[in-house]
């Protein structure tokens, strides 16, 4: 990754860090996850708070 480029700018090629709970614990950013868990994370849907959501 290049942090600084020649024209005095910052962030070239630097991605966002995405932290998710893998199972009971966290791990660093998601690029360390195995393929199956990545697929599982992609499929997660949010749960609504009303009783009949």
């Amino acid at each position: 990754m290049t942090v600084k480029s020649a024209n005095e700018k910052l962030g070239q090629g630097v991605g966002f860090e995405r932290i998710r709970r893998i199972t009971g614990y966290l791990v660093g950013t998601m690029d360390k996850w195995n393929d199956a868990k990545r697929a599982e994370e992609r499929d997660r849907v949010k749960h609504g708070l009303s009783k009949d959501a």
């Binding site: 910052l10 962030g11 070239q12 660093g28 393929d35 499929d43 949010k46 609504g48």
Partner: protein, 760 residues
Amino acid sequence: MIQSIIKRDGRVVLYDQNKIAAAILKALEACGEGDAADAARVANDVQGELESRFHQDAPNIEAIQDTVEKQLMEHGFNAAAKAYILYRANRTRAREANTALMKTIDEITNIDARASDMKRDNANIDGNTAMGSMLQIGAAGAKAYNEMYLLRPEHAKAYREGDIHIHDFDFYSLTTTCCQIDILKLFHGGFSTGHGYLREPQSIQSYAALAAIAIQSNQNDQHGGQSIPNFDYAMAEGVAKTYRKAFSRRLRDAVEDYLDLEDQEEQIASVIREAEEATGETAKLESKPEFLEALAQGLVRQYAVELSLAKKLVRRASIRSAHKTDRDTKQAMEGLVHNLNTMHSRAGAQTPFSSINYGTDTSPEGRMAIRNILLALEAGLGHGETCIFPIHIFKVKEGVNYNEGDPNYDLFRLSMRVSAKRLFPNYTFLDTPFNLQYYVPGRPETEVATMGCRTRVMGNVYDPTRQIAYSRGNLSFTSINLPRLAIESHGDEKLFYEKLQAVLDLVAQQMLDRFEIQASKHIYNFPFLMGQGIWLDSDKLTMQDDLREVLKHGTLSIGFIGLAETLTSLYGGHHGTSEEIQKKGLQIVGFMRDFCDRKSQELKMNFTLLATPAEGLAGRFIRMDKKRYGKIPGVTDREYYTNSFHIPVWQPISAYDKIRLEAPYHALCNAGHISYVELDGDTARNVEAFEAVVRCMHDFGVGYGSINHPVDRDPICGYVGIIGDVCPRCGRHEGEQIPFERVDELRRLYPEMPAFQGIE
């Protein structure tokens, strides 16, 4: 005449009939079927047959071995022939394992972890570093050896083919999983890490530092995650020591300043000592009035000052020491969090996999520790990064912290604000009936605590007088591929239960075999865990004793994965789709729990049922099942099996229903369980909404739960929160650059922004 033979690797070597005779003799002797003379006769005939087939050509090894098999049978040595065939099959398997091992090591050595799913099997090990790779190579070698030499053939087959998964198989012959470390017991009188002796800590900073060292040391004796069950109770002791020291210093300063004196250390010490002796109390965050009164009287006697002035000096000292103690505690808790995210363990390949449990100590010192560890977690690491370790577990208890008016309700509220930002703490519920049955007020060791991914150890059939969380842990666990049993039962429920019974028996036997290996170890194999008396009753062992009896305080856990897919295969839908199928789900899990309970009573050992965490396992079983059975809708058509008893992650369902449906499984899975609710970021940031979910878990009888929500961070501007396509703080897209003037502008607004050494 046979002159030479061709070996497997292609080399040509001299033919030696004695070698053939020796192999035949081994097979004969193994079955008690013949002697050296018989072996020589068979070997002669083998040579005869080879000469008639090959003439002057060199036969290869396989052809020679085929001929030996045939001649053994022709001579009527049937058992020996069978033994010889088995021996050959085993050797072939060993050779194949060797080749596979070399291929694995090749992948570990040469392939970037980003391109190798195998190297990302456990996300906590960085497979790209030297030490991480060495650990993975060691694990691969140990696994190959264990499968070849330690497993019974039927267990090896079930493991290899994915009927079961033996967790931490690389450590099969070496150690056990995890332990709840009672650090108070450890600290009292000091302890040795195995590399040096540490005196009993005397301040909150040392308590926090040694807590991290205890976790790190134990991590090298066991393969799982390590945990502190009494974090608040233990840190409270450190807070109290820091306060006492601070108070004596502050009182001296106050007296010296006000009365314009020097070197009053001894005099003040004796005033404090007299007050302590007179009242049986000490200086504390909330000192007893009679102690403060006695101190003031002591100052009057020592310095001949007015009582009102003496009281003022005591009050100033109290207030200043409380501030100083709070500052020290804050620093100590920040230090602990930093340490546990940066310390090395296991040859540098990991940071310690650690958990801390807290929330129920209502003493002022305990509360100060809890508040500051939560604030440290909320602040994050140096650049605002979310801390990965330790796992924080907040113990929820009615009358202690659950309801408004409870002494620690404010800390429960604070914990939710923090969890809504940082994903931790998780919540464990002590009022849930299966946890409440062990709870004795005033005895923190009876409060359920969790460790690592979700492990819970409380009941104890081996020693029913010790049903406690402290000093115990899991010995090993093996998980069952539940969906495969269903697929192979083709909707036949009775057949499914027969298959399930058979695999439960197989797993129990396999774990008992593993226990035999573990039980034969000694204290010196575990210099910290056993040598320092961390594990229950290990302080009663001598160097000669094996670990059999003390290990029986631990648990042998049978796990499972994919209840949802199992139900879909058997009944056409998962337990989130109908109450009928939910009943079927509870029956299946109840069946496994009954098995564990019966086995426990029969052997007086703790067999427990685990809702398997399934990080590496999420994909392993389904990959094999997809190959075997093809894509079955709702069963094998995704890349993962659903975690334990969870409602599938893709199922639209309300938080309320998800909790209601999953809670009853918590009661059944006594080795460990967890439920998650997924909230969108805005809902999670709303503490009322967050609390509603936690209370729902409490009321439905969940044992352990946590709330998931997105936590993103832009490493350039340091923004932490939800980032869609564009960072809400600096406005850049992923991978995009921003001008330096903009960086400087942002830094004025957000002084905590990361600094980029050497380029700014």
